[in-house]
């Protein structure tokens, strides 16, 4: 049985706690990377992370991209949408097809 984690700055994620997801507020990049490693090693199937934080610890996230679990998913934080998540989808299309043929016009 897996659990779901939400990582990010406290203001962006405190609401998820009421839904029953485990929240892990972090402030620095180092802390976030350690937390991600730790969560991935424990029983967490999905890790939601705010886009702002994800941009800082891209390397750690990329490491888990080829693994089945955990799924690390970007969500917008309280400070707005950076477009990083949408970019991620475009990147995977680019990786598979060679160029972004689906969403290049928007």
């Amino acid at each position: 049985m897996y659990k779901i984690a939400v990582v990010g700055d406290y203001d962006s994620i405190y609401g998820f706690a009421t839904l029953g997801l485990d929240i892990f507020p972090v402030t620095s990049r180092k802390e976030a990377e350690e937390k991600l490693e730790h969560l991935a090693a424990s029983k967490y199937g999905i890790i939601y992370i705010t886009e702002a934080l994800a941009a800082e610890c891209k390397k750690t996230i990329d490491k888990f991209q080829e693994q089945l679990l955990p799924a690390i998913i970007l969500i917008p934080g309280v400070f707005g949408n950076t477009g990083e998540g949408v970019q991620g989808v475009k990147l995977s299309v680019e990786k598979a097809v060679g160029s972004d043929i689906l969403f290049s016009n928007n």
């Binding site: 009421t18 029953g20 679990l69 991620g88 299309v93 689906l102």
Partner: protein, 227 residues
């Protein structure tokens, strides 16, 4: 010219021919795999993008609601209200095999069946906005789980497609032409050596006949006799 040195022997020729057959068969299969993966991936990617936009919009709305809720209450009250969540979400993670790619299948379970357990506080000290904010976030949760499943599948399939595409290209542009070149080289070498053996045998035969019958001497004598 083949880049690798091959021995021009019959055994090597058979080996190379077998290799070519396997390579062509493999190439065809991998190409089929790539095409099918690509077809499924494109559908999935479209779905992924639509879902992501929806989830991002939902979270944005929820965040807005939370900010409003926070504005109407003191920080302490809010923190106390959210301190002890009643609900818990568990995840059943299975996997599905799509064209040899394992993609995750998530099934969520909540600890209690009551949908109202997301409100982990008494309603006396909190503003109504908070209820709305929590509700809006709860509404987007199923989509978030679906997004996690689809986005992860997309990532996994994308890297598999990339790998398969490389393999297809390597077979098509390197292995197959190289093997064909090798086969050609060996065939030509073998033909060449066969011809030279033939010539040698003819020459030897000539020499042996000469030794036995002395044709040249007789020719010369006949020439003198006539003259």
């Amino acid at each position: 010219m083949a880049s690798t040195q091959v021995n021009p022997t019959r055994m090597e020729l058979t080996k190379q021919k077998k290799k070519l057959v396997t390579a062509i068969k493999g190439h065809k299969l991998l190409k089929d795999k790539r095409d099918e993966l690509m077809r499924q991936f494109l559908d999935l990617a479209r779905e992924n993008m639509a879902l992501r936009l929806k989830v991002e919009e939902g979270i944005k709305e929820a965040n807005k609601n939370f900010v409003i809720a926070k504005a109407g209450m003191s920080e302490q009250t809010l923190n106390t209200a959210l301190m002890a969540p009643k609900q818990e979400v568990y995840l059943d993670a299975g996997k599905k095999n799509v064209m040899s790619v394992d993609i995750p299948v998530f099934q969520s379970q909540t600890r209690t069946a009551d949908a109202n357990d997301i409100y982990s506080y008494g309603f006396a000290f909190t503003s109504g906005d908070l209820d709305g904010a929590v509700k809006s976030l709860a509404d987007i949760l199923p989509d978030m789980l679906k997004l996690a499943e689809i986005e992860k599948s997309c990532q996994l399939m994308a890297s598999e497609i990339e790998k398969t595409r490389r393999r297809v290209n390597a077979l098509e542009h390197v292995i197959i032409p190289e093997t064909q070149q090798n086969i050609k080289y060996i065939t030509m070498k073998l033909d060449e050596s066969e011809r030279s053996t033939q010539i040698r045998l003819m020459k030897v035969k000539d020499m042996m006949l000469e030794e036995a019958h002395h044709y040249k001497e007789k020719d010369r004598e006949r020439a003198y006799g006539a003259g």
